[in-house]
Symmetry: C2
């Protein structure tokens, strides 16, 4: 069967322009670029494996997938510790932006979308600069992202 | 910080009753029970790690997480091959059912929820027996689930 999601191993990885527009940079883990969604409704990170052409998890090799899982668990743990949230949501959807990216979202029982998933639940509420810089610095410190 | 999601390592794992009600059994991979959501709107699997008390991915150890990722990639690949879908969605949400379970869903650009995520998009449409048994047999064969 022809796959619509075969990786393009040639060519350097660059961040998808829509992901870049919607987020703020946090830093790079060994495999993934870590981004903060510019939406103060939820503490919401993205992990984007820096592997050109990856769309599905099976476009990564087994070692990369294990590393991605390690990085997702690290981000989940640190978001839970930083926010004291009730649940972490982790998801690779990609119906709109094809570049493989994984959402890691801190959810609270009193957040404006609970218990529904966050996508499409309400308009993004951009951070003010100070609030966002505090959160990014705290994430960098916890993730050893200098 | 107190965690609300610490694993309860004592006690045997049993499938959450709501997951059992909403699904049809497919079989057991080394770590996860594989279930088919009883919703013919989407080819939709669940992988449920058989680890008592696990709620978050970080309740598994590193080896279990790597195995979970391996099993998710296997299920994603086989759903794509069986259905010829355009995108696989993978997600661990768990806002309603706490027991750690991961959705693996085959999405098509002409499915009734595209490009939105499937949760809450439309009422479940239970399978008729024959359609469902064909799909389960095909999944078992592809996943070596006897």
């Amino acid at each position: 069967m022809n796959s619509t999601s075969a990786p393009a191993p040639c060519g350097a990885w660059t961040l998808d322009p829509q992901l870049e527009r919607d987020t703020l940079a946090v830093g790079d883990l060994p495999l993934s670029r870590v981004l903060l969604m510019n939406d103060a409704n939820f503490p919401w990170l993205l992990a984007v494996p820096r592997h050109a052409g990856a769309v599905e998890t099976f476009d990564l090799d087994d070692g990369q997938r294990a590393q991605l899982m390690r990085e997702l668990a690290l981000l989940a743990r640190l978001l839970k510790d930083l926010t004291g949230c009730h649940k972490i949501n982790i998801a690779a959807i990609g119906n709109v932006v094809a570049q493989l990216h994984v959402h890691v979202i801190a959810r609270r029982r009193d957040d404006p979308a609970w218990p529904r998933p966050v996508w499409g639940a309400l308009p993004a509420r951009p951070y003010d600069g100070a609030e966002c810089q505090r959160l990014i610095q705290a994430i960098r410190k916890k993730a050893d992202l200098g």
